[in-house]
């Protein structure tokens, strides 16, 4: 699809390059504009991160100076935040919840997605549409029933209470179903003939073939849960049970907003997301290479 779109301008550009003079400058403008747009986009992405880092290195008096390089850089904020016991709890809570939720989603979403993609059974389509339709209900509407449920079952202020709504997601099921549909049936039938049972076929044959999708799902789910705010805020009121995003806001509820501490906490909390991304991104790239193999 994109090939013709990019080739046509290039062909035109090459034709123009062969002709002399003023035309040439117009051609050079094309890449320059593209470059500028990308640069602007890059700045827009990086600027908040840069300010986060910069602010985390400032003393309180300097926070409202919008200079990027602190005049008096300091690691005091890091010392304060990291030595605050609460920060340790929050980090642990976030890590535990996001990791378990990710593992749970990878397992269940792909198990359900595989079943929907590769097995024929009555009401398969109905089940699929029912799962999809839950995507149309916004979290804000679900929060109250979730809360009542948690209250009934005594899940308030527990890790399970924070996690349970996200252990399986309709989006994940949908994503995995789409990917499993691209796995040729021959791959599965060959394994069936070799004597693997259906669970082994899923685990040993189908799952490795959709690794790129699993990696993408892992990134989505981990980031989504790492940054989740509304539900963890509602289901916890004991500071011990806060997740990082909820905990960080407590830096602002005292007399004033302590931006330098919030930014420091945020800077530290970005680290695991970078690790997750770097680890799983490798699979995505490898997966693209493997996809070229078919046939």
């Amino acid at each position: 699809m994109t090939a013709p779109a990019t080739d046509a301008p290039r062909a035109a550009a090459e034709a123009l390059l062969r002709s002399p003079g003023p035309v040439r400058r117009r051609v050079a403008a094309g890449p320059a504009v593209r470059w500028l747009v990308l640069f602007a986009g890059g700045v827009a992405m990086v600027a908040p991160l840069a300010y986060m880092l910069s602010t985390s290195l400032k003393y309180p008096f300097e926070v409202y100076n919008l200079n990027l390089i602190p005049e008096e850089p300091t690691l005091d904020n890091y010392r304060d935040v990291l030595s605050d016991r609460r920060f340790g709890w929050w980090f642990f809570n976030s890590l535990l919840v996001a990791t378990l939720t990710t593992v749970s989603n990878l397992f269940w979403d792909s198990l359900v997605g595989y079943t929907l993609a590769k097995f024929r059974f009555r009401f398969r389509q109905v089940v699929f549409i029912a799962i999809l339709s839950t995507l149309m209900i916004p979290t804000e509407m679900l929060v109250i029933p979730w809360y009542l449920m948690s209250q009934q079952f005594g899940w308030l202020n527990t890790h399970w209470g924070i996690m349970f709504p996200g252990l399986m997601t309709a989006f994940g099921v949908f994503l995995m179903r789409q990917f499993f549909q691209t796995v040729p049936d021959d791959f599965l039938e060959a394994a069936r003939i070799d004597g693997l049972n259906e669970f082994q076929i899923w685990w040993r044959v189908a799952m490795p073939l959709v690794r790129p999708a699993l990696a993408a799902l892992a990134i989505f789910v981990f980031l989504g849960n790492w940054t989740a705010f509304i539900w963890p805020l509602i289901v916890t009121n004991d500071q011990h049970m806060y997740t990082l995003p909820v905990g960080l806001t407590t830096f602002s509820v005292e007399q004033s907003v302590q931006w330098e501490l919030i930014m420091t906490g945020a800077a530290v909390s970005v680290l695991p997301t970078l690790v997750v991304f770097l680890v799983f991104q490798r699979f995505i790239i490898r997966g693209v290479v493997m996809a070229g193999l078919k046939g």
Binding site: D186, E189, A190, A191, R192, D194, L196, M290
Partner: protein
């Protein structure tokens, strides 16, 4: 010894019947090729034998046991698929070893079998490679190796060569034939390529619309086709069929000519002449006369498309000095190579 017996095999998908009572006795070590046009039920029949598709009616017997209700792994078969079905995330060794996944064998015995299969297939040097680093032909060898280590009573192949380019296909065809000569396993092989069928098979099973049309050796189906479908399906270019009326040891063709045929048949018939049995001759001496419309030189011979005035036939001229397009020619058929078919049923008249 193990035999494969199909009895009145029927397959329905919902209410559509796609296989209508297929019966076949395969003798041990035989190379059977199922051939027919697309959608005729070849794959469905093979998949029923493999146990990947449930049987609607009839029975499948392998080695004296009815296997209708057995899992694929318990049927003593192995199957090679069109797109190889080898796993990109595993090495060649692991892929071949997958065939032994459930085999209760000592580790050393498994390794020995894998290496033996690799040696037979000339893949020893590639055992640690991933499929991405293999050519199409090598991948197909891995798939065959995976089937070989199971040491099955019956090998099933579903169009294993159709993803390969023409040259490689010819080469792999020969290798499969050599492999069969060496291992002497029973093979059921599906293809829609009649050349593949002719070159590989001990017996060819020609199918159409879920029914067997004829079972026979390549020579039998070629020289004594059971009906007009088989006559035109096997052999390229296809057999010429001319409508006419038989009587008194002759066939009076609808286009006017008369040809002597050794038969007692009477009534409407179709006369079949293979292109290589129809040769150009002087216009005066030959029973059929027409004008060459196209000449296709093939090297050893020339295919002549001849317009007989109401029917077009293909004849074979010499490689050098064949009649030119536009030229009037007579056509002479070898009387021993004529085929007669009933005009209504298409069945051969012998």
């Amino acid at each position: 010894m193990t035999t494969l017996i199909l009895r009145d095999l029927v397959k329905e998908f919902g209410t559509t019947r796609v296989v209508h009572g297929v019966s076949l006795d395969v003798t041990p070590g035989e190379f059977i090729v199922l051939v027919g046009p697309s959608g005729c039920g070849k794959s469905t029949t093979l998949r029923m034998i493999a146990g990947l598709e449930e049987v609607t009616a009839g029975t499948i017997e392998i080695g004296g046991r009815v296997v209708n209700d057995l899992e694929p792994k318990d049927r003593d078969i192995a199957m090679v698929f069109q797109n190889y079905a080898i796993y990109p995330h595993l090495t060649v060794r692991q892929n071949i070893g997958f065939g032994l996944y459930t085999a209760r064998l000592p580790r050393a015995e498994k390794a020995r079998r894998i290496e033996e299969a690799a040696a037979v297939l000339g893949m020893t040097a590639y055992l640690e490679r991933k499929p991405a680093a293999l050519s199409g032909g090598q991948r197909q060898r891995v798939a065959i190796g995976r089937a070989m280590v199971r040491d099955p009573a019956v090998f099933l192949f579903d169009e294993p060569l159709s993803n390969l380019d023409a040259q490689l296909r010819t080469q792999m065809r020969l290798e499969i034939k050599k492999l069969h000569a060496r291992l002497a396993n029973t093979i059921v092989y599906v293809t829609h390529d009649q050349v593949e069928a002719m070159t590989l098979a001990d017996r060819i099973v020609i199918m159409k619309d879920g029914r067997i049309q004829q079972v026979g050796s390549p020579a039998e189906v070629y020289h004594a086709p059971a009906n007009t479908f088989v006559a035109t399906f096997i052999g390229a270019p296809a057999m010429n069929l001319l409508a006419g009326t038989a009587g008194g040891g002759r066939v009076r063709l609808d286009i006017g000519a008369e040809i002597a045929v050794d038969t007692t048949a009477e009534g409407p018939v179709r006369l079949g002449i293979r292109p290589e049995d129809l040769r150009p001759a002087a216009p005066g001496a030959a029973p059929l006369r027409g004008r060459v419309s196209v000449a296709e030189p093939l090297g050893p011979g020339t295919l002549l498309h001849v317009d007989l005035g109401g029917a077009e036939v293909i004849a074979t001229g010499p490689g050098r000095g064949a009649p030119e397009p536009g030229q009037e020619v007579g056509l002479l058929a070898d009387p021993a190579a004529l085929h007669l078919f009933d005009a209504a049923t298409g069945a051969a008249i012998r």
